[in-house]
Structures are given as structure tokens and as C-alpha cells.
Symmetry: C2
Subunit: 329 residues, 2 copies
């Protein structure tokens, strides 16, 4: 083995490991984002480079030869070392920059933005940068991600924050116009205002209220909750929205929750981050604070929901409350 022998291509190594793991060029092609043809060629090139056959070809796919099995851990180790090196640099670079917190718009509007100044004042040394993916230019991965999902994400550390209490809400004027809503099934004569990212809400609602197979008169979909809430307030339809996002409108009477209709959804708002990343000073403090504030927010929502539920049971309409804090939205 003379010193002038060139190493294999890293694409070849990546492809080799994928084929070894999945036992098929077709499946590996999907895993590494190449075509089967390119995968086949990469394997052949690697075999030629190393001067030995790495896979037996069968009609069912590829199986490691003995030589391939010998080489496998070395290829893995090489790729692992590169990843470690890159990760070390990435983490080192992260030390000197703000903690990137990505968050869906509605959570910012209704929850965090009015609370964050308290944290910022208590921790002036912790630099936090809020991001979202509205712009395609944004390619940096956030350190913390706050968004809607229906459970923990594999490979990520995930914490539930709030938002699983979903309510059917509508403007009083709409209900008057439509003859009110005397029972759950009356919703079928309504226009439903739905969020693109919450496709399960309708199914969950019908399941909870024994309306399986029921279809609303119309469905209109939006990408932002702030828009849905405005549409609902304008009387364009009924909306299924997390209670915490419509707490103020319910309190002021701009929106009401007829018959206390609602359900507990599988989908809520979660905080996630990568567990492999060494965390900077302040990261843990920020996560802890966010979770604490979310718990307070969620408790307030649950308390209000319980209060509304008992008022409905007593046959009295919910009592409008004073806004708890000034709203900037």
C-alpha cells in the first residue's frame, strides 16, 4: 500500500453504507437522494477502486461479501469522523451567536412576545434571535423549534407546551343569522374555517361529538391562525381553533363557543431541539423558562375551559371577562 494511493470518494462511501444497510440499490437511492442508476455506478466505482467485490448481486438485491463486511466498519468510521469534525466546528461556531428560536406566528402573537421582555430583562446576557421560515433565504437551523405536531419527533428532544384544547368558535352575529346552533349536528350547515396544518381537527371533532361522516356545508382553508380568527370574527364561518389562541376573543364576546363544543386534540404546540448539540450558556435557562411560561399559559386556558363548561351546564352564558393583558396584535 504505497503512500500515493488515493482515498475513495465520500459519495461512494455514503452509498456503500446505505446499500449495505438496506440491501438494495433501489432503496439506497431513495436514502441518499440519487437514482438507482447512480447508486449502481458508485458501487461499481468503489469496487474498482478497492480492487475487490463488495456485494453479491441477487435478484432480490445486494448482499455484502466477506470483503464488504470487512470494509463496512472502516467506511462507517471514516464518515463518522468527518461528521464529528464538522459537528465540532458547527458547535464551536454556535457558541458565539444568538440562540435561534423558531416559532410559529400564532404562538408568538398570543403567547411569547408579550411575555419575553420579562425573560430578557432577567437575563440580559442571553441573546435570542426569533426566526421563522417565511423567507426561503433562511437556511440556518434553529436551536429551538416551537411548532405544531402530534407528538415527539424521532431524534429530537420534544416537550409539549400547550394548544391541545380545541374549541368550535363563531361570531354571535353568524350564529344569529344561521338560526343558532342547538346541537352539534347543526354545524353541517356552516362554513368551516380550517388551518392547512391541522388536517385532523375535523375528524377529531366529529369523532368526539358522534358526527362521523358529517360534512360541513363549505370548507375554507387558511395558512395562518390570525387570519382564521379574523375571518371567524367577521362572521365568515365557524372555526376549530386551540382555545389558547382565541382566549381574548372568547373573553370579550367577539367569538363564542356554542354549547361548549370542543375536544382534546392529538396535535398541540411543542418545543423541540436536537439532543446531540452541546448547549450554550443560557440555553437550558431559556428552555426551562419557556416551559414554565407555557405551563402557566396552558393552566389558564384549562381553567377558562372548565369555567365555560360549568356555565354551559348551568344554562347561563359565559361571563365576559376583562382582558388580562393589553394585546398588541
Amino acid at each position: 500500500m504505497a503512500g500515493n494511493r488515493l482515498p475513495p470518494s465520500t459519495t461512494g462511501l455514503r452509498v456503500f453504507l446505505a446499500v449495505a444497510r438496506l440491501g438494495s440499490t433501489a432503496k439506497a437511492a431513495v436514502a441518499v437522494n440519487l437514482t438507482q442508476s447512480a447508486v449502481s455506478k458508485q458501487i461499481q466505482a468503489l469496487e474498482e477502486h478497492l480492487g475487490t467485490t463488495l456485494f453479491e448481486r441477487t435478484p432480490q438485491g445486494l448482499k455484502l461479501t466477506e470483503a464488504g463486511s470487512i470494509y463496512n466498519p472502516y467506511a462507517e468510521a471514516a464518515i463518522e469522523q468527518m461528521e464529528r469534525g464538522a459537528r465540532r466546528l458547527s458547535e464551536r461556531a454556535a457558541q458565539g451567536r444568538p440562540i435561534r428560536l423558531h416559532m410559529i406566528a400564532i404562538a408568538g402573537e398570543r403567547w411569547l412576545m408579550e411575555r419575553f421582555p420579562v425573560f430578557a430583562q432577567a437575563h440580559p446576557e442571553i441573546d435570542v434571535q426569533f426566526t421563522n421560515f417565511v423567507s426561503e433565504e433562511e437556511t440556518e437551523e434553529p436551536d429551538i423549534d416551537i411548532g405544531h405536531q402530534s407528538g415527539p419527533l424521532p431524534g429530537r428532544e420534544s416537550h409539549y407546551l400547550f394548544g391541545r384544547q380545541v374549541a368550535l368558535v363563531a361570531a354571535p352575529s353568524l350564529l344569529e343569522r344561521m338560526g343558532g346552533l342547538q346541537r352539534p349536528a347543526d354545524i353541517q350547515k356552516m362554513t368551516l374555517l380550517q388551518h392547512f396544518q391541522m388536517p385532523t381537527f375535523w375528524a377529531e371533532f366529529t369523532e368526539t361529538h358522534g358526527l362521523r361522516g358529517a360534512v360541513p356545508a363549505h370548507t375554507v382553508r387558511y395558512g395562518y391562525y390570525s387570519v382564521i380568527i379574523r375571518a371567524a370574527m367577521a362572521g365568515l364561518g365557524v372555526a376549530l381553533a386551540p382555545r389558547c389562541y382565541v382566549a381574548e376573543e372568547l373573553a370579550s364576546g367577539a367569538l363564542i363557543n356554542p354549547l361548549g363544543l370542543g375536544f382534546e386534540s392529538a396535535t398541540g404546540c411543542w418545543l423541540t431541539f436536537s439532543p446531540n448539540t452541546e448547549h450554550r450558556p443560557g440555553f437550558e435557562a431559556l428552555v426551562a423558562w419557556l416551559r414554565e411560561e407555557a405551563a402557566i399559559f396552558e393552566a389558564a386556558t384549562l381553567a377558562k375551559a372548565a369555567n365555560d363548561a360549568s356555565a354551559v351546564a348551568a344554562g347561563t352564558p359565559p361571563v365576559p371577562r376583562q382582558a388580562r393583558r393589553g394585546s398588541a396584535s
Copy 2:
């Protein structure tokens, strides 16, 4: 660090390590067999890939940044793992093939070829393949290399065999034509027959005989000793040749060693092999045998040289001897 991040190119890693070691794209270019321009681009591509600066640029060259220093051992380890894997496969493949023994032609002609049948008969299970680099097609590295060098090679296990006793030899007819050679300085009126690969012989000869600065009338260079010996025997000039290669001609009187002129050279014939390679069955036996036969060959040469030296001191010409074995050259 998302899972879909691609590893760097291996060329980039190789170049990075070379620049880190040599501190200059120009020097690294030589080391990795690329131009300085290509090296510069590879470094830039790697820096862009990793998202950080790896070198500070100065007028005197490139110096690792802190980030570069952090990355260095990872790059090294990755390349090392690839080399290990390839080596393992290479060694495994070597188990099933002949031991490749490369040897310069003259050593084969005058030493090994007539002795090897004895070894082959004693070890029929050891398959040996003789190679040389006359053909450019020959790209496989030999397991054992026998050639001329002036000492051990770094990174190789090296054993001296024979050939450091060098003699000045000429045909009797030439000496008669040129009025004999009464003292060492008379060589300056001769034509010197020299071997391309032994450029130090003339300097060593003049040093030994107090002829510093002396220049022969003519110098003719050849690439093969068998040709030099033939030219000397034909009277075309005097030759400086290892005694072991002209033993038969000296014994028969076809060539003589006037005044016993000669010297012990720094250059001789050595056996080398890579110490990193796991050795196949028979490898050790073959090396041991080769060294033993070389020792015998060298001892015979030294004995003859000593015999000739004492004859010269006594003023009698060397006694021509019967050829010890039939010569096939």
C-alpha cells in the same frame, strides 16, 4: 447538524492535511500532485462546505486557524480509516496470490536465478513471482524489492545483501593498448563506463585513491550492468562495478583488476519490504533464505577480493580460477 448533511470530498481532506502540514498551497500542491491553483480552490471549497475559515493567509503561506486545528485530527482520522479499510482488503487479497519479488536484472543474472531452484524444490508450496518495472503496465507493488540503494529506506524494513565492494576492471587488451595502468592517476586517460544509477561511484573512487578532482578522458553511461560488463570486456573502457557482478570475468581473466584498485561503496544491493503488511505463509521463509544466500554470495566475493589483494601485494598477478558454475548470461 441535520442528518442530510453531505460529507466533504476526500480530495478536499487530503489537500487540507497537506497544507496544514506544509504551510503552503504551493508545497502542498507538489505533495498531492495537483497545481497550486487547484489546491487553493479545494481549500476554499472545504471552508465553504464547513462554513468556517480553516487557514489564515499570510504572505509566507497558510497557517491553521483555531477552527482548522480543531478539524485537523478528524480529517486525519477519516483518511486513516479509509486507508485501514483499503489495506485490510489489500492484505486479504494478497493471501491468495504469489509473493511478488521485484529484483534488478543484474542481481537475478549473477546471483538469484541460478540459486532459486534449490529454494523452489525445498518449498513447492511457496509461489513466487519475479517482476521488474520494464513494462509500464506493471502497477502492482511487489511484496519484496531487491535493488541498489545507499542505506535503509524510511518506512520500509531494509536488509543489506551484497555489492558494496566495487572494483575497477578492464580488459587486458585495453590496458596493453593504453600502455598499462601503473598508478591510480593513469585512469584519467581512460574512458569510464558508468552506470546511471550509481552516480557516486566515481566520486567514491577518487576519494579513496587520492584523486580528488580527477576527470576521466571520457565517460559513457549505461543503464544495465550486463551491458557495461560486455563493453568492458570488448575493451571500450574501464568500469567501476561491484565485484560480485564481475567475479566470473575476473576468474577467467576476461577482465582484470589492475593494481587491485577498488573501494567500499555506500551503495549496495538491499532487500526491502513494507513492515505494515501482514505476511503470508512462506514470506518469512523466503526472506530468510534470500538473506542467507546473499551472505554466502557476499562472503565468497570478500574472500576473492582478499585473495586478489594479497597477490597484488606480493607482486604476482592474480591467479585465474576455474569458473565455479556455468554462466547462463
